[in-house]
């Protein structure tokens, strides 16, 4: 009987929370702007470095920087949306061109973040690569604080998102934009502003997830890059058309990747852990081949409506 330590479960839940925060943004942006956003990787990394800068420069408490990360990364996404994607959308560019636009934004941000991290190192004289901040964390009942914080943040984000989208007027406008933008515009909804809001929210959540990253694992300028396949896997698992599916997707992927690999390593040997990054790709391929609409798109849910 393979043994799974409670610690592994805690790790899994932290990873699941962070993945959900990132994946839900990808789904939201896909539903509103119809573009798979490759720049999500840079949102996560930027969020991490915003939090790290506040901690190392002003000695902030590690969780105080979360709102700042939300706003800064949200602002970054507005730049991307209004400077790059809006002109392309106005010209009715193909999805492929929008995708390469987000990828090139990501590459540019990679350069910016690398330069920023180097400069931070020069001026503050702190190492800015492989950043681990878990020593700043509090512990509660033997578990690290990040465990409680990441789960709380994710639950709050999910509930808040639900209320904003399902219960407020802005949410109704946003949903109208997701359904049919021309129709939404014809009844007087400012669709551009609504899309901007969606970008701000989605990127903000990714930024918060990034800000939490150094509390749990290492933060690098390439952190977002290593996670991007997992983010898309979460989004596709949950269903690119179903907003809340990403939360289920995050949970499934985290369990498959951490618990699954640990159990497999117990059975066949430690060498298996080297192939851990393949898990999201396999899951993604299986979902796309068998049920491309993901969990949220399955017919089972219609019975509950």
């Amino acid at each position: 009987m393979p043994f799974i330590a409670p610690f592994t479960i805690a790790e899994t839940l932290i990873y699941a929370s962070l993945l959900s925060l990132m994946g839900v943004g990808i789904t939201l942006l896909y539903k509103t702007t119809k573009v798979p956003n490759f720049a999500h990787a840079s949102f996560v990394t930027l969020g991490g470095y915003v939090n790290f800068s506040l901690i190392s420069a002003f000695h902030w408490s590690p969780y105080l920087g979360l709102p700042v990360a939300f706003v800064v990364v949200g602002g970054e996404s507005l730049l991307l949306f209004f400077l790059v994607l809006e002109p392309l959308r106005k010209r009715k560019s193909s999805v492929a061109l929008l995708m390469i636009a987000t990828l090139s934004w990501h590459i540019a941000m990679l350069g910016f973040l690398g330069a920023y991290a180097d400069s931070l190192q020069t001026f503050l004289r702190v190492p800015t690569r492989n950043v681990v901040l878990s020593y700043l964390d509090f512990t509660l009942g033997g578990l690290p604080g990040i465990f409680f914080v990441s789960i709380t943040v994710t639950v709050v984000a999910a509930v808040a998102l639900y209320f904003v989208i399902e219960r407020t007027n802005i949410g109704i406008a946003l949903r109208a934009c997701m359904e049919n933008q021309n129709l939404a515009a014809s009844v007087g909804i400012n669709t551009t502003r609504m899309l901007g809001l969606a970008w701000f929210l989605a990127a903000g959540l990714a930024g918060v997830a990034g800000a939490l990253l150094p509390m749990w694992t290492q933060l690098n300028t390439s952190s977002g890059d290593t996670l991007i396949a997992a983010m898309f896997c979460v989004s596709i698992l949950g269903g690119l058309e179903t907003l809340y599916g990403a939360f289920a997707g995050g949970l499934i992927l985290a369990f498959a990747q951490i618990v699954g690999t640990t159990m497999l390593a117990n059975v066949v040997g430690v060498w298996v852990t080297g192939y851990e990054p393949v898990v999201p790709l396999l899951l993604m391929a299986i979902v796309l081949m068998t049920n491309p609409k993901g969990i949220g798109g399955m017919k089972v849910w219609k019975r509950f409506k």
Partner: protein, 346 residues
């Protein structure tokens, strides 16, 4: 004075070698993205496949072809000794070198075709956005295998590969660059030919209007698969040539170098235009070398590594091209009718 002249020659040779390697890879992307309209964000998959094939096979093949006694040496730990042995054989005879080169290219082509089929399995029926996500996610999977499975190419430190141009001695770079340029010319002519065949016309029909192409009885998944395989073979050969030229291979083929840069060059030249692919590749490398040249002046002024300026500049360049000149330097033109088509009109 002679010294400076030699420096310029070496610089030019390396520039042309890289243009040739990238032209082969870019032609592969052009047939997939430009001609057939597949959102190929995972080109690095095939390039690393070809590169790892070369890294895995070149020394083994050399040992096998030239009947070298391995003396019980492992191909990874005894990599340097065995590769030196193979080099002594390629040094003795140009034919030996060429034989090795051609066999490695054929192996890379086969691997590329297989990878093309594998990567298309989950994605062939998907819409362009899903297709793009899947291909992007699969792109760097081979690096995981290359890192974790050490018998392949020795894990993160990598392995060195035999020098198939060792026979040229001091003019090794002249020989290698000329070979690469000839191969790139073949790839260019091949894609130009494919575009003009009925298959190429079908590809473009699918890109321009899927529904219309389907209504004319064109099998969409099959045509896409064919385009992916043709492109994958070229990209894989490009990867293998890159490894043979550089002389070593590590599992570090990134999305940036082998997916984003080919996209950039295609966008610069004009997506779908074959001349544009050539012009885009050449133009980009010229710009890049100028950046490289000026970068060193900035290194002492800036508080960060100038390599980051590359990323920043290139990302911005692509966005500017997309916004202000999406058709590229040399836009795709309607093909001239062939003599057969002309005579049928009369």
């Amino acid at each position: 004075m002679n010294f400076i002249f030699e420096g310029i020659i070496l610089f030019a040779l390396e520039l042309f070698a890289y243009i040739a390697i990238y032209l082969i890879v870019n032609e592969g992307l052009n047939i997939q993205l430009g001609v057939t309209g597949i959102t190929q964000f995972g080109l690095v998959f095939y390039v690393s496949g070809g590169a790892f094939t070369a890294g895995y096979l070149a020394t083994r093949l050399g040992v096998w072809i030239f009947h070298i006694n391995t003396g019980g040496l492992d191909f990874i730990s005894g990599n340097i000794i065995l590769t030196t042995e193979v080099n002594s054989m390629t040094k003795a005879q140009p034919l030996n070198g060429f034989a090795l080169l051609i066999i490695v290219i054929i192996a890379a082509a086969i691997v590329g075709a297989l990878l093309g089929i594998i990567s298309s399995v989950p994605a062939i029926n998907l819409r362009s956005d899903y297709l793009g996500i899947t291909l992007l996610a699969f792109g760097e999977i081979l690096n995981v295998f290359g890192t974790a499975y050490t018998p392949l190419i020795g894990g993160p430190p990598g392995v060195i590969v035999p020098d198939v141009w060792a026979w040229a001695g001091g003019s090794r770079f002249v020989a290698s660059t000329l070979t690469l340029m000839v191969l790139a010319a073949i790839a260019y002519v091949f894609i130009e030919y494919v575009i003009r065949t009925p298959l190429g016309r079908t590809f473009r029909a699918i890109r321009d209007n899927e529904v219309a192409a389907q209504s004319l009885g064109k099998n969409l998944p099959r045509c896409r698969l064919e385009a992916i395989v043709i492109g994958a073979v070229l990209a894989s050969i490009g990867g293998a040539l890159f490894v043979l030229y550089a002389g070593s291979v590590t599992p570090s083929f990134t999305r940036y170098t082998w997916t984003f840069l080919p996209w950039l060059m295609l966008l610069l030249g004009g997506i779908g235009s074959n001349v544009g692919t050539l012009v885009g590749t050449a133009t980009w490398f010229t710009i890049y070398d100028l950046i490289l040249y000026y970068k060193f002046y900035l290194q002492n002024v800036l508080p960060f590594d100038v390599v980051w300026l590359n990323y920043l500049l290139l990302g911005i360049i692509v966005m500017l091209i997309l916004i202000f000149r999406p058709q590229g330097l040399i836009p795709e033109k309607p093909l001239r009718a062939t003599s057969a088509a002309k005579s049928s009109k009369q």
